[in-house]
């Protein structure tokens, strides 16, 4: 515990090996964001061979729900950033409250997305319906899994803060979890406009 306290207090973020959240999570973030980027570029070029099909399929998506979900996820990200900020300042109670809000909004995103998935399945728009929907299900499905795992991680972080394990002097794991959570935002910032908005 003593060692962990000392370590957290002396982090030099400007050091190439110690970005905020740690080098491992940033390696994961870089690879994940690049993977989604490549998949979306392939999607965009494949669209060129069937523009009509892709545009018609895109019109079957609910932009309003997608936009609301974007705001829900961004709000959750804001609460996460504030929760970490409060924890670092020693305001544990406020941090816990903000983390609860982060988790609630994260679950809100999952519920809305599940509702959207249910609507699609009801209309027979499943994975094999056409090429557009194959991309839609795979890309948003992987993102959904990331958010789901993120909610589990944040719930565990909340439990550890409640137990007094993570404090203003020992917040590295919280910072890493926050980076993972924000990565879900980053990926959505690439997915949402490409799949739902641009044509």
């Amino acid at each position: 515990m003593e060692k962990a306290v000392k370590k957290t207090e002396t982090i030099d973020y400007k050091n190439i090996f110690y970005p905020p959240g740690g080098i491992l999570i940033w390696m994961i973030i870089s690879v994940e964001v690049l993977t989604f980027t490549i998949a979306l570029i392939v999607f965009a070029f494949q669209r060129q061979s069937a523009v009509e099909l892709f545009n018609t399929s895109q019109n079957m998506l609910n932009k309003t729900i997608g936009t609301i979900n974007t705001i829900v996820l961004l709000t959750s990200g804001y609460f996460m950033a504030e929760a970490l900020h409060m924890l670092k300042r020693g305001k544990t109670e406020k941090s816990k409250f903000l983390l609860r809000l982060t988790i609630v909004f994260g679950i809100g995103f999952l519920v809305l997305k599940a509702f959207e998935y249910f609507q699609k399945l009801e209309h027979g728009l499943s994975l094999g319906y056409n090429t557009f929907f194959t991309y839609y299900w795979l890309l948003t499905g992987f993102h959904f899994l990331h958010v789901f795992v993120g909610v589990l991680i944040l719930s565990y972080v909340y439990y550890r803060i409640k137990k007094g394990i993570y404090t203003a002097h020992n917040f590295l794991d919280v910072e890493t979890s926050a980076s993972f959570w924000h990565m879900c935002d980053l990926i959505w910032m690439l997915l949402f406009p490409t799949l739902y908005l641009i044509h």
Partner: protein
């Protein structure tokens, strides 16, 4: 305070993108405009929420490079 300002900007850009995608006055260049707006949001999350502004230049370069690749290829694919 900075996080709150970032959140307001992010939500405003989200709503603006939605309006652009629904309207017809921005027929040409719609894809590029929306992708650029989301690029700004991507940077806002990375630099403010993830505190990348504190990090070593290499990590900033990696994230910005991925974003440039995304914007360039998507804009090209939707304009040719």
């Amino acid at each position: 305070m900075n996080n709150k300002i970032t959140w307001i900007v992010l939500v405003t850009l989200t709503l603006l993108s939605f309006v652009f995608s629904e309207s017809s006055f921005l027929k040409t260049g719609l894809a590029v405009t929306i992708v650029l707006l989301y690029g700004i949001k991507f940077l806002g999350i990375g630099f403010q929420y993830m505190e990348l502004y504190k990090a070593h230049l290499m990590w900033k370069t990696i994230l910005v490079t991925i974003l440039i690749i995304f914007i360039s290829f998507i804009s090209y694919a939707y304009t040719v």
